[in-house]
């Protein structure tokens, strides 16, 4: 199991037990197909390297299966598939971001984890109204840092919303 601490991410900052204040406005960013997405850090428990996934028959397509994280069974979903993008082979940069929602842990497979960012709430604007396609459902807002734009993901829709692709 490879922990991605060497990639600019201070694992201490990811400690879930920190005060709300210190987690405020902090986002974990990750890459899928060259696009940067951001996730509120409060949801993130840890980041682990790719590991073998046990497939489960006859379940929703975007759930890849389950993994054994130190004795705890965690379902993992492929964010690419969720976005309706084609699968690509996993590389050594592929990561599983483990998030905690409604007291259960779920793993998100992402192409690459980038960094932890401060995006003050004044810099966050509503998602573009013109957003079309299913993807826009997952966008909670758009954060701008200097000239850069990060897409803030709505973790709850990402995990729970029923979306059927053709």
């Amino acid at each position: 199991m490879q922990i991605v601490s060497e990639k600019d991410i201070n694992m201490q900052e990811l400690d879930f037990t920190e005060d709300d204040d210190t987690l405020k406005d902090k986002f974990l960013t990750f890459k899928i197909s060259n696009e940067i997405y951001a996730l509120e850090i409060g949801f993130v428990i840890e980041i682990i390297g790719m590991q073998s996934i046990t497939k489960i028959p006859n379940i929703k397509g975007f759930i890849n299966g389950i993994i054994n994280l130190r004795g705890i069974i965690i379902p993992v979903i492929e964010v690419r598939t969720r976005f309706g993008m084609p699968k690509i082979p996993y590389t050594d940069r592929t990561c599983i971001v483990v998030v905690n929602i409604n007291e259960s842990s779920i793993g998100l497979i992402v192409d690459e984890v980038s960094e932890v960012l401060m995006i003050p709430s004044v810099n966050i604007s509503a998602p573009p109204a013109t957003g079309k396609g299913t993807q826009s459902k997952f966008i909670k807002g758009v954060g701008s840092i200097e000239d850069d734009i990060k897409i803030l993901l709505d973790i709850k829709t990402l995990l729970y919303d029923e979306i059927i692709y053709n």
Partner: protein, 771 residues
């Protein structure tokens, strides 16, 4: 006092929580005794119930739960009256007492969340009226005024020296002893005063067991009191100690009162009075006050010592009596009577109740009673279930990790005699640890069964039927979590037995049966399962009636000719099925029974129904002893590994061409000796690419459940493993054909096959093809 208590610090909250849990416990354990009030020799049970109310009253007063105190006070008065009457009580009174139990339970639930009982005020008024009304009815021939005047007369006398001393020494500081409280204690004292210490001790009502328990408890309490007092003397500002000490003294007073030990009771009462003043701040913990209390506790200790000497002399005699005719270890007796097959099971299954030294049954305590000499050791402790669950989870993890270490892929092909030796020892210890942690969670079914007594009584009165409930095997132990799950199904089944099973009195007489119906509720071990049976001697189930109803409701899936009686009877568990001609408020809405089925299936159990029209019905629930750990066979299909419960496997073999046949509708069947079984290709079922689709290449596994068999086809058997069953989690939800998963020796995950689901699936495809 109320001023102090309004501010609830976490200590007080904890104490209240403990009070609620103990209160609920004592309500549950003593509720069955209410039934005995209708019998002649009921004093033992009246005392037990009285004590429930009395303790609750004392403690609720202490926690400033005014409403609880009021209600319990009324209930106590009623019980006191009953106690004095010492005669059988009528049904109305019994119903009122049951109502009080229910009411108190509700209040306690409220207290557990709100830490106050104020919200129960209005309903409490009703309850108090009911109790008062009942009191009037029960009232003995003596004029009620006499009854009270007698008390007020006594009030002038009872204050013992110490109370007086306190009163004197503190008369200036405005010490105000609550006269009502004293008054009540006096009533109690009066009622006990005719029982002397010696005579009561020899009385048969007081069993050795009871006395032993009392002594263990009393020593603990008095130890606590002394410890706290000494601490308080050193550190008078630590007022937190006072409530705890008060509680201990109060319990001691209540217990000794119950045991008829009026000397101890009096002494404790005096201590209580002083502590109460300390608590309210009317007295300060001066050394001389502490000395007074301590001197009382010293006397109590001496009295307890004397009592214990007598007790051990007494039990020694008893023990000899048991030991001499049968030179068997008492522990063994317990073991044999509990599980006839224990020895077998300990080796075969880790889940069976293990070594008796690890099961904390009351019996165990009995068996050892009298062995201790001077000092009685504490034999059980109260532990939060969360802690036990956590321990259990950790043991589960340990087992997983142990398997991961000893079956580590890195070790393959190495010759490691020393490692293997250590690994074996580790394995032995982890299994033992698992067995013990499992046995901690094992509880006798008694509590649940006792609740059923009450239920049957209530329902039969409502239905105007006479029903006698016979209970057997209440000492059968099951996993606590499983017990919680089966309570609901049992309620439904028993309701149904009384409502639909047992005929009404006229019908029974017309059918030549005794007018009192009998329902037998029993539990026993069978292999790795527990069998719970509910058997009534009622009208039985009429096959044609069920079939007609099923047809009408459209839940008949198979032609009736193909269905055995058992299959037909099982239709009553289908959702939406109800045959009661008339919907009663007890059962017959056609919900309920399918809940039974669901709950039992959730426990991986099964239901069987046997019935003879006119004679009665027998419903058998088969429930695994525990859900948490499974001995399993691991099989492989392509890259996926699946686990099968060993218990479900009949045999496995490689098939020969000659015994496989394909029917004309494409169904593959295999002939095994005299059986022809359908083959389920697991790779098709789970959409996996197997090593080979040729039936001759892989392995055939015959599984059996609920008297049905099918043959599974997989690539190979990987091995056998004991593992902790884990759920797939809410996020994934229900997966057809899979019940959960387990972590395998190499850290991978195996999915657990849903045997019942597979059998059902095969049945459906079979039916599809037949029709």
């Amino acid at each position: 006092m109320s001023e102090n208590m309004k501010i609830l610090d976490s200590d007080t909250r904890e104490m209240i929580t403990q009070f609620v849990s103990e209160g609920l416990d004592s309500l549950d354990t003593n509720e069955p005794y209410v039934e005995y009030l209708r019998e002649y020799d009921n004093s033992e049970h009246v005392n037990a119930i009285f004590r429930v109310f009395h303790t609750l009253k004392g403690l609720s007063g202490f926690f400033d739960l005014k409403i609880t105190k009021k209600v319990t006070h009324e209930a106590e008065t009623l019980l006191d009256l009953i106690r004095k009457q010492n005669k059988p009580q009528n049904e109305d009174t019994i119903t009122v007492i049951f109502q009080t139990f229910d009411f108190l339970r509700d209040i306690l639930y409220k207290v557990s969340t709100d830490f106050t009982d104020e919200s129960a005020g209005i309903i409490a008024e009703d309850m108090i009226l009911i109790l008062k009304d009942c009191l009037e009815k029960v009232k003995n021939p003596i004029n009620i005024e006499d009854y009270f005047s007698e008390d007020s007369y006594m009030l002038k006398e009872p204050s013992t020296e110490i109370v007086e001393e306190v009163l004197e020494s503190d008369s200036n500081s405005g010490l105000n002893i609550n006269l009502d409280d004293v008054n009540e204690e006096v009533i109690e004292e009066v009622s006990n005063s005719n029982i002397t210490f010696e005579s009561e001790f020899d009385d048969s009502i007081l069993t050795d067991e009871l006395l032993d328990q009392f002594l263990v408890n009393a020593f603990e309490l008095i130890d606590l009191v002394d410890k706290n007092l000494i601490e308080l003397e050193k550190n008078p500002d630590n007022t937190k100690l006072i409530p705890e000490t008060f509680g201990a003294v109060h319990s001691l007073k209540g217990n000794s009162g119950f045991m008829g030990l009026s000397e101890i009771e009096d002494l404790a009462m005096d201590m209580e009075t002083i502590l109460d003043s300390l608590r309210s701040g009317d007295l300060t913990p001066e050394p001389h006050i502490i000395t007074i209390i301590l001197s009382n506790s010293e006397i109590i200790r001496n009295l307890l010592d004397t009592l214990q000497e007598k007790s051990s002399a007494h039990t020694k005699k008893e023990n000899k009596y048991i030991e001499s005719p049968t030179p068997v270890n008492t522990n063994e007796i317990v073991e044999i009577s509990e599980t006839p097959k224990t020895e077998n099971k300990v080796q075969k299954s880790p889940i069976a109740p293990v070594d008796n030294s690890a099961t904390f049954t009351p019996k165990e305590v009995d068996a050892n009673a009298g062995q201790h000499s001077a000092h009685i050791q504490k034999k059980d402790i109260r532990v939060e279930t969360i802690k036990i669950d956590k321990l259990f989870d950790l043991v589960g993890e340990l087992i997983t990790i142990e398997a991961m270490v000893t079956n580590n892929p890195d070790l393959i092909g190495l010759d490691l005699p020393n490692f293997n030796k250590s690994a074996n020892m580790l394995n032995k210890i982890t299994r033992e640890l698992q067995e013990i942690s499992m046995s901690i969670r094992m509880m006798p079914l008694e509590g649940t069964f006792n609740k059923m007594k009450r239920l049957v009584r209530d329902v039969s009165i409502k239905m105007n039927k006479k029903v006698n409930l016979l209970i057997s095997g209440a000492d059968t132990e099951m996993d606590k979590n499983v017990i919680d799950e089966i309570a609901d199904p049992l309620v439904h089944l028993l309701r149904n037995s009384v409502d639909h099973g047992i005929e009404n009195i006229e019908q029974r007489i017309a059918n030549g049966k005794s007018e009192i119906g009998t329902i037998k509720l029993g539990a026993k071990y069978e292999g790795n399962e527990i069998l719970i049976t509910i058997e009534d001697d009622g009208a039985g189930i009429i096959r044609d009636k069920i079939l007609a109803k099923a047809e009408e409701k459209g839940i008949l899936k198979v032609s009736p000719d193909l269905m055995s009686d058992k299959d037909v009877f099982k239709l009553i568990f289908e959702p939406g099925f109800s045959t009661a001609a008339q919907i009663t408020d007890i059962s017959g809405r056609g919900v309920g029974m399918d809940v039974v089925k669901k709950n039992i299936e959730k426990l991986h159990g099964s239901i069987d129904v046997d019935s003879i029209a006119g004679k009665g019905t027998k419903i058998t629930l088969r429930i695994p002893l525990t859900l948490a750990i499974m001995e399993s066979m691991i099989i492989r299909i392509g890259e996926s590994r699946y686990a099968l419960p060993i218990l479900a496997i009949n045999e496995s073999f490689r098939s020969l061409n000659t015994n496989i046949t394909v029917t004309m509708d494409g169904l593959e069947v295999i002939k095994v000796r005299n059986d022809v079984l359908p083959i389920i290709r697991l790779h098709d079922q789970f959409d996996i690419e197997p090593d080979s689709k040729n039936l001759l290449d892989g392995i055939m596994i015959i599984i059996e459940a609920k008297n049905k068999k099918v043959c599974l086809f997989a690539d190979e058997i990987v091995g056998q493993q004991q593992a902790v069953v884990k759920g797939l989690g809410d996020y994934i939800g229900k997966v057809p054909g899979v019940t959960g998963c387990m972590i395998l020796g190499d850290g991978g995950i195996g999915l657990i096959l849903d045997i019942d689901g597979l059998l059902e699936m095969s049945e459906n495809t079979l039916l599809l093809k037949v029709s």
